[in-house]
Amino acid sequence: MAQVVGQQILRDPALFYWILFPITVVMILTGVLRHYATLLLQSAPKPLDAKAIREQKNYLHGINLRGNANQIPLSSFTTRKNYLVAAYQAGSFLKDPDAKNKPPPNPMSDPNGMDQMMNMMKGNMMMIVPQTVIMGWINAFFSGFVIMKLPFPLTIRFKSMLQSGVMTRDMDVRWVSSLSWYFLCLFGLRSVFTFILGNDNSADQTMAQMQQMNPQQNTQQLFGPGQDPAKMYLAEAENLEVMVQHEFVLDGIEDRVLATV
């Protein structure tokens, strides 16, 4: 085992104070800033209007009936089934009954879909803009610096990761360039943020609180954009119609109770 004497490079300690340290601090600060900017930009999901709620909840009603049909007597079940199947087929719960035979609307033109996309755009912009700016800043000022040495050996594979911006073939992989330090910070600071920003979800926490304060206004969409509620209602009506088997849970309950209690 030939003992390789590590490459010795003399580094100016100023490199530490003026490059390594600033990059790290800037990365952390941008992370915090991005967090709060995201919070500010986040728009609360728009509550559904009455008709949309009615459309969704009545659909759920059918699913509930199908799932728990055995809990109620056969006659009660049949009454409900007949009512729901008729209503579903007539489309009386639809948001706009006239749109029944029209093709499904283009998801791009759906205002709700646009809202979602806008939110996604905002989130992406919050990621991309600061990253490009900082990377430009590092490239402009610090490209080509070797700023630190890792305390452990690495295989050659890591060379491209740790020494981007420094084009030397023979340098030991343990040396890290400034640009690579930026990348390491970018991916490795998550736990630091969790530490600083309180579990990284002080944003989520406020949202959860607001939700707790009004649990009734559920804004989640049962029908995704592009799905046609009319078709789903028809399918559900068919599901209900073909349900012929009905075993009432109370049948034979006296024997079950006598056997177990």
Binding site: N64, A208, L250, E254
Partner: protein, 308 residues
């Protein structure tokens, strides 16, 4: 005391506490209000319960303060805050005209935003309180048309129908609750009770119908016991219905054989005896039962003893 211990005291009390309980909860108000505001979900739910108990006991100044803090945090347009505000207005109203004014406010809010469920529920409650029962039922059915998966609303509608003796409608509503929460054993017991009451009040014609009702009632009670081991209300019902069934010398077709009814009766008696004697001796396994319910069970057992 810390926030969590306050909170668990409030959680332990139901929404319908006894007056003494309300009083002791309400007396916590100054010390809770002196805690630093920590902006955690627990803190705000504690405030909410505190508001209710302050209103219950007529401590309107504390209620005002708590409500103020809640609306400062969540804003006046939050549906839940609006409902709490409405409840405060209802509570401090001194005459009929003021209540009508509150009702009118509710109407305006609902007109603006028909999806404001908390306010809709307040409005229904107030309508019912003002003895406008048909209006309350109509409003509740409208709410259920909007959202037929709200178990609480169905249960409330069942109660309203029950109060005006429209039993089959009440049963329908409770069945809807079961479609949403199939394991709600207290709803099963409630169905048993309503069926029993229907049978007791004549069953809507025919001896056979009464028998059917009684058997249905027994089955619902049995299901509640099957879902919840040692459910006092369920056993009480079983005992009551089986006693009635044994008395009834109906000629109609029985679907539950008489010997099974006898057996079920003795099973229920054994369980009730266990619970009553255990509760009286203060055994650990039985202390949690409601004293009033245990006393009722004891009475039932005593009546049964004297009749045989």
């Amino acid at each position: 005391m810390s926030l969590t211990s306050y909170l668990s005291r409030f959680v332990a009390a139901s929404t319908h506490p006894s007056p003494a309980e309300s009083l002791s909860l309400s007396q916590l108000a100054p010390s809770i209000l002196n805690l630093t505001i920590s902006d955690t979900p627990e803190q705000w739910s504690l405030y909410e319960s505190l508001l209710l108990s302050a209103l219950r006991t007529g401590d309107d100044t504390s209620a005002r303060l708590v409500l103020q803090r809640l609306s400062d945090r969540f804003g006046n347009s939050n549906a839940r805050i609006m409902a709490l505000q409405g409840m405060y207005d209802e509570a401090i109203a001194t005459n009929h005209a003021q209540l009508e004014q509150v009702l009118k406010n509710y109407d305006d809010v609902i007109k603006d935003d028909p999806t404001n469920v908390p306010i809709a529920k307040r409005r229904i409650t107030l309508l019912h309180h003002l003895n406008k029962k048909p209006e309350a039922i109509a409003a509740l059915t409208a709410l259920l048309d909007l959202n037929p998966t709200d178990a609480e609303a169905w249960a409330q509608l069942a109660q309203y129908y029950f109060e005006i003796a429209m039993y089959s409608q009440a049963i329908y509503c409770l069945e809807e609750v079961l479609l949403i929460l199939p394991n709600a054993y207290n709803v099963h017991a409630r169905l048993g009770e309503i069926n029993y009451i229907v049978a007791d009040s004549g069953g809507g014609g025919g001896k056979e119908s009464i028998l059917e009702r009684l058997e249905a009632s027994l089955r619902w009670y049995l299901r509640s016991v099957e879902l919840c081991d040692g459910y006092l209300r369920g056993y009480y019902g079983i005992k009551m219905v089986t006693a009635k069934l044994m008395q009834t010398k109906a000629s109609g077709q029985r679907t539950i054989a008489e010997e099974k009814v006898n057996k079920l009766n003795s099973v229920a008696t054994v369980h009730l005896n266990d619970i009553v004697s255990g509760h009286e001796k203060g055994k650990k396994e039985f202390v949690g039962y409601d004293s009033v319910e245990v006393a009722a069970a004891k009475e039932l057992l005593a009546a049964d003893d004297s009749s045989t």
